[in-house]
Subunit: 339 residues, 2 copies
């Protein structure tokens, strides 16, 4: 861990290049990534994590940018920097000391083959370049060793340790990947738009259930009322276990409309969690899932180590030629490996 | 394995209820599921597996139904039932002996909360009810122990052993799950539709690369040419390792248009694989991935046994309260389980 001491000290003093380097180490599972996370963990737990997802074209990036600006203007009501310093967070990480500092993780598994999103993020990053209080990181880690959800959570850990008050995780699409990524946030926001047909109906499993707040963006378009009615109708079908009824906030992100209201809805939900003593329970439940996921990744690594490439190719060929039954084969290997 | 002898014998004689029972056993990881798969494996390897995916609303179900009808009318050119019987496949599994028999796995993690898809599948099943040569099974196994891709592959194994000539795996959405599910098929088809904006651009990583055939469905709509141009432009960027250039087939599935052409494109690709001696290589490569995945699942099961529910909850709470570092914890557990 000593090898990371300089990196961590730079990162915690607000050095953005150190932050980027630490994130790359974790994202690429570069040597020492695991030790780095271990060393950073004690500095985490201060940031609030907001997950945002919605279909492509829902205007997520614009909304996230607006929300970032909104928080940059706001004082952090939860605790001052001085208190945070006492809690072990860096006292001088960014310019505007008492305002929120923001980290944005844009998770976009869009292919390098197409590449469009990455370009878009570069433009976004330039726009915010003048404000070191907003850090944007784009991730497209399909090739990474860990799952995408796992890696995203690890990157959020780095941002948290670097003293970012507010971390926004934004995904493209509403598939299971995206659900897995945003559901472990403290607050999960689902962004819908009018005029996508039977959008709400085709939204996938879990995504309706995980939304703590619904946003209808581009709400100046025809059909906004209809989308709202659909959401309310679905809500009437099932009550949430925690008793919270997710509000519906209408925005026109491109004009900055509804952003204050969204900020207020987020604050409402956080107050609710606090009042009902649900914060720790939610966090514990999230960690149960994350631990199992982490264990799965660890097992995958061990499984790969067992099956050296040459050996794996030979066995796979035997299975493909039907000379060997894969179910027995795997049991045999597992039996040898597991204590 | 003896306990499964009756089930297997019924399933191989064409008993649809036995087939359903066997699939349930495998899907739910009911006691003996692994032994059942072992016992079925020797009867597999005859079916061709076609994977189909595309965004919600692309008309996948309609296309799959049309393709099923198409194959039901076609003679199986690859080998007659008699030959198959010699190869160990059942001689009298279904009614129209020399025609293709079809199994459809509709993988849809749509929420019970919305429930639309399940209902839709029931209607589809009724439509095909008069033809025992088409078997439809809907899967929504989000809670299952194995991964969705793994379970789907296992269910395909059961259908293969039951003598279905052609297995179609259809998924909702184009997320990583869907990629993982369809990429292990013999033939992978990506279904696009015109008028979804910059659809092709937002299609996720890997999905463009895994498509062996592109379908533009609802191609009577405006914008079909545009989608085709986009596909061709993307193709010009990267050549496939196997030298195959995925063709673009235009269909209007609701009117049965283009289905013969799609059938021909599938046959072309299969001939290409055969001619280039790539069939076994593709299958071997798929099995390499599946074996690692299976080994991981087997090891994870053992590791999870370490984390009884009560123990997991306790550890997760400790992590949530920052009394324990999750990275070290997982390493410790993995170290205890694996030699």
């Amino acid at each position: 861990m000593d090898s990371h001491a300089n990196l961590i000290s730079s990162l915690r003093s607000g050095d953005v290049r150190a932050l980027s380097r630490a994130i790359s180490t974790v994202e690429n599972r570069a040597p020492g990534w695991s030790d780095l996370l271990k060393a950073l963990f004690p500095y985490t737990g201060h940031a609030r994590v907001i997950g945002l997802t919605g279909a492509p074209g829902a205007g997520k990036s614009t909304l996230v940018d607006q929300l970032a600006r909104h928080y940059r203007k706001a004082k952090n009501p939860h605790f001052s920097r001085t208190e945070r310093a006492r809690n072990g967070a860096p006292a001088t990480s960014v310019t505007s000391l008492d305002n929120y500092t923001v980290g944005i993780i844009a998770v976009d598994p869009t292919s390098p083959y197409t590449g469009g999103a990455i370009l878009g993020d570069r433009i976004r990053m330039q726009e915010h370049f003048s404000d070191p209080g907003i850090y944007i990181r784009s991730m497209a880690t399909r090739g990474s060793l860990g799952g995408l959800a796992r890696t995203t959570a690890d990157v959020a850990t780095v941002l948290d340790a670097a003293g970012r008050d507010l971390i926004m995780i934004e995904t493209v699409g509403v598939g299971q990947d995206e659900v897995d990524i945003v559901r472990l946030a403290d607050v999960t926001i689902l962004i819908l738009v009018p005029g996508m047909g039977d959008d709400v109906q085709t939204i996938k499993a879990g995504i309706m259930e995980i939304a703590d707040i619904f946003v209808i963006n581009k709400s100046d378009r025809d059909g906004a009322e209809h989308v709202e009615k659909e959401i309310l109708a679905l809500q009437s079908l099932a009550a949430r276990r925690d008793g919270w009824t997710p509000p519906v906030v209408k925005t026109v992100a491109s004009e900055g409309k509804g952003i204050n209201e969204l900020g207020a809805a987020i604050a409402d939900y956080e107050s609710y969690l606090k009042k009902q003593n649900l914060e720790l329970r939610k966090s514990s439940e999230n960690w149960q899932e994350r631990l199992v996921e982490m264990l799965r990744d660890a097992m995958l690594e061990k499984a790969r180590a067992q099956l050296s490439d040459g050996n794996l190719a030979k066995l796979a060929a035997e299975v493909a030629e039907h000379r060997r039954d894969p179910y027995t084969l795997v049991e045999e290997i597992a039996g040898k490996v597991v204590k």
